[in-house]
Amino acid sequence: MFNKVLIANRGEIAVRIIRACRELGLDTVAVFSEADRRALHVRYADEAFLLGPAPSSESYLRGDKIIEIALKSGAGAIHPGYGFLAERSDFAQNVIDAGLAFIGPKPSSIAAMGDKGIARKTVSAAGVPVVPGTEGDGALTDDQLLALAPDVGFPLLIKATAGGGGKGMRAVDHIEEMPGLLQAARREAEASFGDGNVYLEKLVEGARHIEIQILADTHGNVVHLGERECSLQRRHQKLLEEAPSPFVGDDEELRQRMGAVAVKAAQSVEYVNAGTIEFLVESDKSFYFLEMNTRLQVEHPITEAVTGIDIVKEQIRIARGRQLSFTQSDVRMTGWAIECRVNAEDSHNNFMPSTGRIAHMQLPTGPGVRVDTGVYPGFEISPYYDSLISKLIVYAGTRAEAILRMRRALEEYRLVGVRTNIPFHQNIMDSHRFMAGQFDTQFVEKRFSMERADQQRESNPQVAAIMATMVAHTQTQRSAHIIRRSKRDTSNWKWLGRWERMHR
């Protein structure tokens, strides 16, 4: 049984895991790249070791170095978080071969679910419904895929076999655009997973993305913690999640049916630890297996809020060989939780990534608000890693109360130095379709526009005009003043005039 855990990750999830370890009385070992010497996970951990230069390939993806550090520091276990090495079965195997505990599933389960082709085969064999698409073991050429496309039918999705998180995914409406999109998808997949293989899947329109959280211990107990609604996505990236799903709502029968199928899917690969089964749900409530994420999920906190179960602590307990302290019948969802992913992306400029130093930061606090973050005022947001700055989670008795609370929290959020997508979330919270729970996976891209939303909010151009004018005025005064001081010998108005021209 281990008493020291190495966290093979960075950012908010590394901090989240350090907190769980600390609250369990376990020592923590952080690893960091040269870009992260001052990162929060390095500051909060008991120990910290340098991995290498900023690029992931030279730092957070260096499984060999990480295992070496674990052994050197006397850590007994490694928690991979999400992303990076979390779903690399070879890494998990190497961890175990080094005599360390891997806080996650068996390498065989990761492998089985890692190749989406094989995964689809396995679970459908176990009687789990899957979305129609290309079957088999992935390695298909562009020509083969182009030939198979018509049978799958348009629109369809190109997905990376090694994929996850929307990387290497493209939607195709017509066969003509398919070759270009295949290239793009393979390129992105190659870059993200070092594996350019892709497969095809029918694009089910008007469907929702709903996932089920699973916990399984080493004693054969598998329970599900209910569902999460994840339909609000952009470029296949989740932006906002809620639990429960407004679509499932009070349909406890549907919830339990999806839960049972999820458990079955997990059992089909002898799953252990925390995992998530993603489903595509059609308006008639029929649902299909999409994929299984064999790791901790970004959006796990909303499930923690409504079930009262600390998923990360449970992961560690499971890895220590403990039995789950509860059964399926003990799991109950109460209240409503919503998570907004606050990204360093300028939602007023086509969600373009934004880097820079966080000059000022004020997080929302107060009743029912939780923020998970890996940054702080003074920290530099680099272009090397993903754009997630923090996760803003609210919890309240009902969905309506949760939405009002999220509005309040978003309004309080202050972050200077990088642009964020907070305005996007504010517009979503005001959207009538969102409030009514009427949205699917294409809502953000097809039925939502920042411009339109901005126009619909109670607008106040007069105030904006006054404030901008006062700032401009102050700046003019200050500059004029500086010039005066530095050039006493010449008349002010001339310099002032010149300065103003310079600055236009």
């Binding site: 990387k167 793009a184 390129r187 992105e188 870059a191 993200s192 470029r235 360093a344 007023h348 400029n349 373009m352 990534p353 934004s354 880097t355 000059a359 000022h360 272009p383 090397y384 890693y385 993903d386 754009s387 978003l410 309004e411 202050r414 200077v416 907070i422 305005p423 504010q426 517009n427 901005d454 909010r457 109670e458 607008s459 106040n460 151009p461 007069q462 105030v463 904006a464 005009a465 006054i466 404030m467 901008a468 004018t469 006062m470 700032v471 401009a472 005025h473 003019t476 103003e500 600055h503 236009r504």
Partner: protein, 166 residues
């Protein structure tokens, strides 16, 4: 000092007496304007209403005001300058060349064109990766690639001129 302030098609005349008095389209207002701890976060009290906004310089003489989640592009010019512009038209006219500058620091995954290439509007010129996202940068119009200042694998800073279309 008196300013002409424009937001989209709205135009206001704002005279600033001091931090506590402005004349807005001829109507005087008592205001209380403060910056929050030296940050570009500003708080304004006017008629008791409390407003807070981020105000950014938009890099070409204008301002962006982020107020309660809504973004307002604001142009502020003083009276005299306004008259000048009215007289001589506003500033230099668009140059014929399109310069593709890096919208953010990142890694050039691949440059898809070379000097002399003919490109159509919407053609992907270059793929720039930042924060694990691959961003396809397209040509806003047809033309000939007149210059390429970067190559695959380059790390570019924000605003670095990567290539031009003429």
């Amino acid at each position: 000092m008196k300013y002409i302030t424009t937001i989209d098609d709205l135009q206001y005349t704002i005279e600033i007496i001091d931090n506590h008095q402005v004349i807005f389209d001829g109507v005087p207002y008592e205001v209380d304007f403060e910056s929050v701890s030296g940050q570009p976060v500003f708080t304004l009290l006017v008629n008791g209403k409390s407003h807070e906004a981020y105000i950014y310089d938009d890099d070409d003489g204008g301002w962006e005001v982020l107020l309660k989640g809504a973004l307002y592009p604001v142009a502020v010019v003083d009276e005299r300058e306004h008259r000048l512009r009215a007289a001589f038209g506003s500033g230099p006219t668009q140059s014929g060349e399109y310069n593709l500058k890096a919208p953010m620091p990142g890694l050039v995954v691949s440059v898809l064109v070379k000097e002399g290439d003919q490109v159509e509007e919407g053609d992907v010129l270059l793929i720039l990766e930042s924060m694990k996202m691959q961003n396809e940068l397209k040509s806003p119009r047809a033309g000939v690639v007149s210059r390429v200042n970067t190559k695959d694998g380059d790390h570019v800073e924000r605003k670095h001129l990567m290539l031009s279309v003429n």
